[in-house]
């Protein structure tokens, strides 16, 4: 047997808990996607606009003004931005929960009887994509807008890990105990 235990041969309660965990996790990920779409955007330009700080310019000696006509109907909604304080708070909350979710996914992975190389790759991805997500956000916060792709790719990477664990867990839980060798 590869791994710590066999989910397929585990007690029904263990398999039930495993299935419910991945289903509820998927439920939360749906809202995570909606939240990202709502507050940050899905394109590199939108994500960079959320995290990259506005370029600082020297304040002029005297105030200057400009006036232009305004069409209220086409007034754009302000784009949500994340400043350093909010990013520190977001990092504190999200990286911790990413680690907890990755740890729980690891417990499931250890029961799926995968080959060691594949198993270790998925475990590393489970932890790694979460860390890379916020690495991208901090790099953008430091003014390097080109790392919007890292945050976007990490989000999709976490989704891919989830789907992999979901399929593996459902297959192991539903297929039932392995028949005894004759």
């Amino acid at each position: 047997m590869n791994g710590l235990y066999s989910l397929r041969n585990a007690d029904f309660s263990v398999r039930l808990g495993a299935v419910l965990f991945v289903l509820v996790l998927g439920y939360s990920y749906m809202f995570a996607f909606l939240m990202v779409r709502e507050w940050a955007g899905l394109t590199p330009a939108d994500v960079a606009a959320t995290y990259v700080p506005a370029a600082e310019s020297d304040r002029p000696e005297m105030s200057m003004s400009s006036t232009e006509a305004l069409d209220l109907g086409s007034m754009e909604a302000e784009h949500h931005t994340v400043d350093t304080s909010l990013l520190i708070q977001d990092s504190h909350i999200h990286i911790m929960i990413y680690a907890i979710v990755a740890a729980l996914q690891t417990l499931l992975i250890l029961g799926l009887e995968w080959r060691p190389g594949w198993r270790n790759l998925v475990i590393t991805a489970a932890f790694g994509f979460g860390a890379l997500d916020f690495s991208g956000q901090w790099l953008m916060r430091f003014g390097i807008g080109g790392f919007a792709w890292l945050t976007i790719a990490s989000g999709w990477g976490m989704s891919l890990v989830y789907l992999t664990v979901l399929v593996g867990t459902l297959r192991a839980a539903i297929s039932g105990p392995r028949p005894a060798a004759s």
Partner: protein
């Protein structure tokens, strides 16, 4: 050995979850738009037929003056939205001063002023998920109507005279104070930066 490993892992996970859920965590919640800026402008200057935006880049002199008055601008630019009637006369000005609190996030108001600088109306345009009910409670207490008629050199904080956390509730009273400070900031911006 395997049993101890599983039990140990489960214990660590339980301790981590317990620590995470029990630790006090001041947490700024997402921003909520209570009134769109376009609607605040439209309702703040209802007799205007044309609208304009005046964008003022705050210079060193005005920045220093505002800072000394306790209204240090967080932004480089301040926008004043004004409306004109069919005869071309200015009917009013709307601006959106915002206070950013460290623990609870931003509170933004839409401050509408008549051409003579008197407050015509105040609406709260932005709060957060957490602070929205406190803001709404303060508004339900009739807070916003009390600002109407205050002159540009007046004291918006005076609307809270006679009020306390006992009359309004602790957090609604606190946010009423923030809203009053927001209005005061707006009046300071108008006095200092807007010249017609």
């Amino acid at each position: 050995m395997r049993t101890y490993t599983i039990r140990g892992a489960a214990l660590l996970l339980a301790l981590a979850a317990g620590a995470w859920t029990s630790a006090p965590a001041p947490h700024i919640t997402p921003t909520v738009v209570l009134t769109k800026q376009a609607d605040a402008i439209r309702n703040g200057i209802p007799d205007a037929t044309q609208f304009f935006v005046k964008t003022v880049t705050v210079g060193e002199d005005d920045f220093r003056m505002l800072s000394e008055g306790g209204f240090r601008p967080d932004e480089e630019e301040v926008k004043f939205y004004y409306g004109k009637g069919g005869d071309g006369s200015v009917r009013g000005v709307v601006l959106f001063p915002q206070l950013n609190t460290a623990q609870h996030g931003p509170v933004e108001v839409g401050l509408a002023l008549s051409p003579d600088g008197t407050i015509r109306s105040v609406v709260v345009t932005k709060a957060t998920v957490e602070t929205k009910p406190w803001v709404q409670a303060a508004v339900a207490h009739g807070l916003l109507d009390r600002f109407v008629g205050i002159r540009v050199d007046g004291n918006p904080q005076a609307v809270l005279d006679g009020e306390s956390k006992d009359t309004m509730g602790e957090m609604p009273y606190y946010f009423a104070g923030l809203i009053a400070r927001d209005v005061a900031r707006g009046l300071a911006y108008y006095r200092t930066l807007y010249a017609e």
